[in-house]
Symmetry: C2
Subunit: 110 residues, 2 copies
Amino acid sequence: MGPWETQLRKGLVELAVLATMVDGEAYGYGIVERLRGLEGLEFTESTVYPVLARLARDGFLTIRAERSPSGPMRRYYRLTPAGERRLREMSDGWRAVSASLATLLEGARG
Amino acid sequence: MGPWETQLRKGLVELAVLATMVDGEAYGYGIVERLRGLEGLEFTESTVYPVLARLARDGFLTIRAERSPSGPMRRYYRLTPAGERRLREMSDGWRAVSASLATLLEGARG
DNA sequence: ACCCGGTACTCTGCAATGCGAGGTAGAGAC
DNA sequence: GTCTCTACCTCGCATTGCAGAGTACCGGGT
């Protein structure tokens, strides 16, 4: 895929990853698969795992390990209160940018 | 501003800059001022000028110099056919990602 | 003549991060 | 044993936004 799409994704992984956890736990491999079904959000494991590690390190996620029925141990991540706040902030920021860009593109009668 | 917003902007400058030229010419300084009025798109000159140079180098823009009534010469940029195509592609890509993210956030009942 | 604020463009260097490539390992099928 | 799928981790590179600093043109005030 083109390099511009790579750049577009920067900063979006974090938001996308956090969003996968709003209604409960999620684990790395599962998140990757879930996002693979969404156009423009097809991240690889090399992208998602470091993000999860960083978010956990910064106190936005807690970790719980559990046996998988079909492979190695899974590491389930869950939002902390700080994580939920973070998600809201990013979500709001995203919507703002989204609106600005829409204005710009729409003013172009696109 | 936070580093995450910086990352979010990656790849967006190009789209935003191209979008300022749909209905005619635009010059660097003016683009910066125009975007300054849009939340989340407040780019600095250090960001915009290199983007313009890159887009021109890659054949998406043509350049025309003209005297300014209030300062040094302005360099006006205009979309080439390739530039217009590029803008459409990026615009479509953006809308796709935007929709995917909306699905994700909305499914979260956020 | 001098300085200052606004306009307009350029360059260097740093920081952040997506991701390809490669590695480890458990579980079930054959 | 080997293969495939699941599941996680790490190194290193390439890209790019942006602060900071610099250059230069212009008009107005003094």
